[in-house]
Symmetry: C2
Subunit: 246 residues, 2 copies
DNA sequence: TAGTGGTCTAGACCACCCT
DNA sequence: GGGTGGTCTAGACCACTAA
């Protein structure tokens, strides 16, 4: 890791700093094992202050080149996972098809009263209890999405006895003989706060993508509702009407 | 506009400042005609520095509560426009159905060699010339999206003679007897830079949503490709497989 | 425990917008 | 031309991570 580009870096304009870091990243001069040096070291190397440096890093973060883990430092982003919310292939399989490796961690699985907006989406009166399953997923070891599922307690009476770190899609099919039917979803750019930020190890206010899905079975009955919070640089949504919707 | 809440504001913790601003916004104490006071005035009111204040404002910006126009100041965001990229209803109609008012400005309409990635999407060799139409759109007078269209020169030989501030969908149908068929699109969270930032009057690096669409006619022939850059707080994507795809 | 990122202070200059 | 936002300096303390 040489400091060549730092020596060339004389103008202090903001974009020049950003560009210098961008170049060093592209040519692999900056990150060791995907991890950037500390902010103080970077500030010194580019002869600027931490505040200015952090402003530049934030720009690169918004552009999806790097990301940070809360109080752990800055890392180089990997390529985005391509995700089609209309497909019900399970997560493991989706990542495997893209030559990535996925893992899922169960955070909690409890019975709980859903918030009013979730009850409305599930077409149940306010105050209804559902199974609430919270999980988070990694792709190639990086935390990329926090998911909160709300499931009908009547339909999935004994779901807490199942292995909830695997694919719910497969569980539905194999244990409950349910096939997915229609899907509706909503995508919103949001700030990750509270539990989504905590679980994804990102600082409060980091930018993310919220995806709210309502899944139905083959008869049109509402099965469940997922609220997903993605790290914004980890995902690319793609939909093609020529694809069959399995 | 009283300063009550500012007087209550004693702790200087970051979240407290953010929360104080959030409360004042919610109760209408902060913005006059959707515009916030200057940063210096806000810093004084909340007894903090501009740097800290801007950090808090950036959080609220990421959360979609406020936005800024480059060098013009901070404004309160309006509700999001609901957008279904599978629908080909024109923009005017879509906004009208949501009781909003839309307008479109033509930036340029020229013949130009498309970048390699666009040529690939349009399934043409690199270096192919297309009509390049750049426009920007407002909803209720706010700039919300910058769009770049690439159209086949063969199919739309005389399109530059048409009114390009209206709906291209309607032009296709009325002047060229073309109906839309399949659509594919891709949604990426990105930083708005260069022309998209300039045209949307936002500062370089502002967070946005990029939507790349490839539209086909009823026979499957590729018609055009749109690249849209949305201000992130202005849009909510919604898709429902129960909707017919007109 | 040392070092890190997260937050904060108290200033400053410049380019640009608005009047 | 005055005021704005955009950028920058040179420090500081604290909570937390990593060793």
């Amino acid at each position: 890791m040489t400091a060549d580009s730092a020596n060339e870096f004389t103008k202090r304009s903001f974009l020049t700093l950003e560009q210098a870091i961008r170049n060093d990243l592209a040519e692999g001069r900056l990150a060791v094992d995907r991890r950037l040096p500390s902010e103080r070291e970077l500030a010194e190397r580019y002869r600027t202050t931490r505040i200015t440096l952090r402003e530049a890093l934030s720009h690169l973060e918004m552009d999806g080149l790097i990301y940070r883990e809360n109080r752990r430092g800055w890392f180089v982003s990997d390529r985005r996972l391509v995700y089609n919310p209309l497909w019900r292939t399970d997560f493991q399989r989706m990542t495997r098809e893209q030559n990535r490796q996925a893992s899922t961690e169960l955070i909690e699985a409890v019975s709980a009263v859903a918030p009013d907006d979730i009850c409305a989406l599930l077409e149940q009166p306010s105050g209804t209890e559902f199974w609430r399953i919270r999980r988070r997923r990694r792709v190639d070891d990086r935390l990329v999405v926090f998911v909160e599922h709300h499931l009908s307690k009547a339909v999935f009476a004994d779901i807490l006895e199942q292995d909830l770190t695997g694919s719910l899609t497969n569980l539905y099919r194999e244990k409950y003989a349910l096939e997915y039917g229609d899907v509706s979803f909503e995508i919103n750019p949001v700030a990750l706060t509270g539990m989504s930020a905590t679980e994804l190890h990102c600082s409060d206010g980091t930018f993310g993508l919220q995806i709210v899905r309502v899944n139905r079975d083959q008869t049109g009955r509402i099965l469940d509702c997922d609220v997903e919070y993605w790290r914004h640089d980890a995902v690319s949504i793609r939909i093609d009407t020529r694809d069959s919707i399995p």
